[in-house]
């Protein structure tokens, strides 16, 4: 009993510190959330923390901001655009990278190591360097302003890291498994689909989260290759425009911000157990 008390007391400062940091860290988001539910006049007239003066007065909250943002301001359309961009831009690079990573890990061909170093070396190329030359190529090919164009761009930007992560993960799978499969009659293609992929679900899932979040939150690439037209603009672009046109309308901006946060949050929470496993992927043999 006494021991337990001592244990609790000795770890108390640490716990308090962690709680404090977590609280400070999440405060802006909480403020954002509160504000997004408050009517315009309240938002302009008083701080969000004043809602705690009457915590059970639910009349101070309403959904009008969200309804307005999603319908009148075209956020609904932008949300769909974001999805149209993000899903293929996540799936295509992972699919390509998985094939490449398998070849780098398990197939013998001349120049394998050099090629891998070159691919990994591409990680250090800042994507801003590629914007102008690539856009000129896109203009000539008629890809500028199309979804296909941005899918390809995101694929290119995402590949080096994806190949690097997956190759390292595939490399840690036991060699015996593949040899056994080859003796059992498997080709490389079979070994890839029946062994490498199913055994790499944690790595694939964490890679999917990385790539999805990066594409979803991207403003620059979308702005350059898609332009800002209503038909193709993603959420990030729409939000940037809202800041300009509705600079005074905090109640609408906060709601818009939450709309754009919602999906990444859901994705992260749904896949977070893979995320934790996957970040360690390849680092320690487990």
């Amino acid at each position: 009993m006494k021991d337990r008390l001592r244990k609790v007391l000795s770890s108390a400062p640490l716990h308090i510190a962690i709680l404090g940091i977590a609280l400070i860290w999440s405060l802006p988001s909480v403020g954002l959330l509160m504000s997004s539910f408050r009517p315009r006049n309240d938002v302009l007239g008083s701080g969000w923390w004043t809602v705690f003066q009457h915590p059970f007065d639910f009349t101070q909250f309403q959904l009008d901001n969200y309804i307005h943002v999603l319908t009148a301001e075209g956020m609904g359309r932008a949300f769909l655009n974001s999805l149209t961009i993000s899903i293929p831009s996540t799936l295509i690079p992972i699919a390509v990278a998985a094939f490449a990573a398998y070849a780098f890990a398990w197939m013998e061909f001349p120049g394998r190591q050099t090629l891998f170093v070159v691919v990994v070396g591409l990680l250090v190329v800042p994507l801003q360097m590629t914007l102008i030359p690539l856009l000129r190529v896109y203009n000539r090919l008629g890809l500028a302003g199309t979804f296909l164009g941005i899918w390809l761009a995101h694929t290119g930007y995402g590949l080096p890291f994806a190949v690097y992560l997956l190759r390292n993960f595939f490399g840690t799978l036991p060699k015996d498994l593949f040899e056994s499969a080859f003796i059992d009659g498997a080709s490389h293609l079979t070994a890839f689909f029946r062994l490498a992929l199913p055994l790499s679900i944690p790595a694939l899932a964490s890679l999917a989260i990385f790539q999805f979040l990066w594409v979803w939150n991207d403003l620059l690439v979308a702005l350059i290759y898609l332009g800002g037209t209503e038909a193709v603009a993603p959420l990030t672009l729409k939000m940037a425009n809202l800041v300009n046109s509705l600079g005074q309308n905090w109640h609408l901006l906060t709601a818009a911000a939450f709309v754009s946060m919602a999906l990444p949050l859901v994705v992260f929470l749904a896949l977070q157990r893979y995320f934790v496993q996957g970040i360690l992927a390849g680092a320690v043999k487990g």
């Binding site: 056994s180 499969a181 059992d184």
Partner: protein
């Protein structure tokens, strides 16, 4: 069912020669054991046959067919790995059926073969489980089962019992021997454990540093090892060795090991007449060194005075660690022995079973 031939096969990894001029013919339905200490090239020899490594030189044949350039899947072999290499995301059934599915075997046939193998190995209750839900012994059986269902021409096994505990290993050993008799297929089995080799192999190939030392039945290997390495490697406790000289005459030839001198039986002495006066290495197995009180009759005795240094009771026998001068050797004697530490005894060597080796070449002198 097929014979396997290694024709002057050499395998190098960079500068390291893993397998050196291997020339072996494994007969159909044979159980060949590749035996040797770790790093002797036995696993590489097996992997060459599996097609997981390509020979640097030489040819490998399965039956009459040259397989140097044939990929593993087309060699009609099955392999059991030391780690078992079970597919962790598949059930036991799927693990066993995997190879058959890839070969487009009809579904009913797959089911029949998997069930049959499972019954044979006593794992029919585990077919729905995943490998991680199995014990070590069960995994080993699944690995064997996966090889059986393929009905290959040759079974390759790479130390399949080394991850089992001692008791289970003895059991599994007998099971594998039974399996070999039942399947009537060629088995090639790699191990560093001489007990496994002696009990299971119809023939044993002893390897050292990539070079074949001797290949013969366990009996011949034990009774007339071709060289010092084989003599020392097979048998537990290992054979005793003494540096000695052959002295005397053909009629009365002695092995002189400085601290003792024993008479060579006359018939053997005749064969050794060319070695008279030469240095030799004299080898005698611990079971051919007897306590004088429990010495079997009808042996040609050679007597050696020795001091008992250590005694180890094994239950059915006692190991005596004996000293003559400063040279230590082991006797494996009757458990009723009255020899105690510090006693002086006159150990009896069975001179009918002596081994002599050339100290330079390390080859046996016959």
């Amino acid at each position: 069912m097929a014979s396997v031939t290694y024709e002057h096969v050499t395998k190098c990894f960079g500068d390291v020669v893993a397998v050196n001029d291997m020339d072996i013919k494994v007969e159909d339905k044979e159980f060949l054991v590749l035996l040797g200490p770790s790093g002797c090239g036995k696993t590489t020899t097996l992997r060459l046959l599996a097609g997981l490594e390509e020979p640097t030189e030489g040819n490998i044949y399965i039956e009459e067919r040259l397989v140097n350039d044939v990929p593993p899947k087309d060699r009609d072999i099955a392999m059991v790995f030391q780690s078992y290499a079970l597919y962790p995301h598949m059930s036991v059934y799927d693990n066993m059926a995997f190879g058959l599915k890839l070969r487009k075997t009809p579904k009913a046939e797959i089911e029949r073969r998997v069930k049959e193998a499972a019954v044979m190995l006593g794992i029919e209750g585990l077919l729905g489980r995943k490998p991680k839900q199995l014990s070590g012994g069960q995994r080993q059986r699944v690995a064997v089962g996966r090889a059986i269902v393929r009905e290959p021409q040759v079974f390759l096994m790479d130390e399949p019992l080394s991850n089992l505990d001692a008791k289970l290993r003895v059991h599994a050993r007998a099971e594998l021997s039974k399996l070999h008799q039942r399947l009537e297929t060629t088995f090639i089995y790699v191990t560093h454990d001489q007990m496994e080799a002696m009990t299971m192999g119809t023939r044993i190939a002893v390897l050292r540093d990539g070079v074949l030392q001797q290949m013969d039945t366990p009996q011949v290997l034990y009774e007339s090892p071709a060289n010092l390495f084989v003599a020392g490697f097979i048998g537990s406790p290992a054979m005793n060795f003494f540096e000695a000289t052959l002295v005397g005459s053909v009629e009365e030839m002695y092995i002189d090991a400085q601290s003792f001198r024993v008479l060579v039986p006359p018939e053997r002495a005749k064969e050794l007449k060319n070695c008279l006066g030469k240095d030799v290495i004299f080898g005698i197995r611990p079971e051919d060194v007897h306590d004088p009180e429990f010495c079997p009759p009808n042996i040609t005795a050679g007597r050696v005075k020795a001091k008992v240094d250590v005694t180890e009771l094994m239950g059915n026998e006692v190991f005596l660690y004996l000293l003559t001068d400063s040279k230590s050797f082991i006797a494996r004697v009757d458990p009723r022995t009255r020899a105690r530490v510090g006693d002086e005894i006159e150990a009896v060597l069975n001179m009918d079973n002596i081994h002599l080796f050339d100290p330079q070449t390390e080859e046996a002198i016959r």
